[in-house]
């Protein structure tokens, strides 16, 4: 029994299941993040079921168990070179770890696709479009999963955030006025205010601080369990 046909899909992750089959996680607009049993030879799975390729997915099944019937790539992979693929791995890990499974969201799917497109188009030279695309993706992903950042007012006093003030950030609650020698990370009000708006209006200067802030918030939600970062940290330690 067909459950859906020619649904837009991206491969998020795959792992061997039994001989001649794999468990593949897809992101789709109408069904959200789903896990599908693909009964293909490993050779065929390796060849066709690769991440970062826009594709159409057809599944059959009964109950919660879905079987892959057809998978049709639409064009080439979006992330061609290794550096971009490494960033893509990070994006996929965020999707897999932060989004609930089988929760339909066209906005999440569009956000994901736009993120890959932005990463594909980004140049390495400053201004760093990769960082900008990642921060935008992280912010919107947190919004869509009910973990959106409160950037409007101090969570304890309800005073509006002002540009020239320094703040700490408490994930789940929001900014609070920075106290000297508190030993906690400090963010400028200007950064918090900017992050409410569109990425193309972010000044380059706020990017490093935004990265720290989102890293702290994501770590809070994932209890520090983000493996892709280990790869970046390892490369940094080599450099």
């Amino acid at each position: 029994m067909l459950v859906f046909e020619a649904e837009p899909a991206f491969v998020i992750h795959k792992r061997p299941y039994r001989d001649n089959s794999s468990l593949v996680q897809f992101l789709t607009p109408a069904h959200g993040r789903i896990t599908v049993v693909a009964r293909l030879s490993s050779k065929l799975i390796g060849k066709t079921l690769q991440p970062f390729i826009p594709a159409r997915l057809t599944c059959s099944g009964r109950g919660s168990l879905l079987n892959l019937r057809h998978f049709e790539p639409e064009g080439a992979g979006l992330l061609a070179d290794t550096r971009r693929r490494m960033v893509g791995m990070y994006v996929n890990e965020l999707v897999a770890r932060l989004t609930p499974s089988a929760s339909p969201s066209r906005r999440l799917f569009d956000l994901y696709r736009e993120c890959l497109q932005a990463l594909a188009a980004a140049t390495d030279a400053p201004p760093d479009e990769t960082e900008r695309a990642l921060r935008h993706f992280e912010l919107r992903l947190l919004d869509l999963t009910g973990n959106g950042l409160q950037l409007e007012h101090e969570h304890d006093t309800l005073k509006p955030v002002t540009a020239d003030e320094d703040y700490h950030y408490r994930p789940g609650d929001g900014p609070e006025r920075a106290r000297a020698a508190a030993g906690r990370a400090v963010y400028r009000g200007e950064t918090l205010i900017a992050l409410r708006g569109e990425p193309r209006q972010w000044r380059d200067e706020i990017l490093p601080e935004s990265k720290r802030l989102l890293r702290a918030v994501i770590d809070h939600h994932l209890h520090g369990n983000l493996q892709a970062r280990q790869i970046f940290d390892y490369l940094k330690h080599l450099a």
Binding site: I12, G46, K47, L49, T82, R97, L226, Q227, Q230
Partner: protein, 205 residues
């Protein structure tokens, strides 16, 4: 009653093997009981001993019950060549289909965040120690061409560059998205013989 329980448990346990479902497991168990009880006993004994005694080669991480595997102990192998593979099965495929006479390094996986496999899990600390000794002339990357295999090769390439080791990657013939283990013999041999240089700023020429 006790017998029924043992049978059930054994059948269940056999299904931990890849490709072995309940039916196949049942066939295995009935075969051993009906036709080959001594074989079953030998299997049990050898399995127990194997999982107890076989560890990883201290040099290349291949499975072995000795401190070093047979390849690393072989004085006829070129110790200045190291070929990095994802799995023991890849090593066996290269041994069977190429005339490579260097050593190996077995990652036992590839970098894959969602499988919780990072640089430490694939043994890059040990590989770095080896490369730091400056006795390696060429590091050959024979990881697959999946996204993860590609990223793994890149990261190891960076490590080798840092250790001033010349690095090549097997190229031609391995299909995009291919797992090495499933490549046919002649393709694999071809790919191995046409490996190409990777990155390697500052590497020895």
């Amino acid at each position: 009653m006790a017998n029924r329980e043992l049978l059930k448990q054994l059948i269940e346990t056999f299904t931990c093997l890849p490709g072995v479902g309940r039916k196949t497991a049942q066939r295995f168990v009935y075969h051993l009981l009906e036709r080959d009880r001594p074989g079953g006993a030998a299997l049990a004994e050898l399995l127990r001993e194997t999982v107890e005694k076989v560890g990883n080669c201290e040099h290349c991480r291949m499975f072995t019950e000795h401190p070093q595997c047979a390849i690393c102990r072989d004085p006829g192998r070129d110790r200045a060549l190291i070929c990095v593979v994802e799995n023991p099965a890849d090593l066996m495929a290269l041994e069977a289909n190429t005339n490579y006479r260097g050593l190996y390094f077995v990652l036992h996986g590839k970098l894959s965040p969602l499988d919780n496999i990072g640089p430490r899990e694939i043994g890059l600390d040990l590989l770095e120690q080896t490369l730091r000794k400056n006795s390696v002339r060429e590091l050959i990357l024979a990881t697959g061409t999946t996204v993860e295999g590609d990223v793994t090769a890149h990261v190891i390439g960076e490590l080798a560059a840092r250790c001033r080791t010349k690095t090549t990657r097997i190229a031609q013939g391995v299909p995009v998205g291919g797992e090495l283990e499933y490549v046919d013999a002649s393709t694999l041999a071809q790919a191995f013989n046409t490996r190409t240089r990777v990155g390697g700023d500052g590497a020895q020429s």
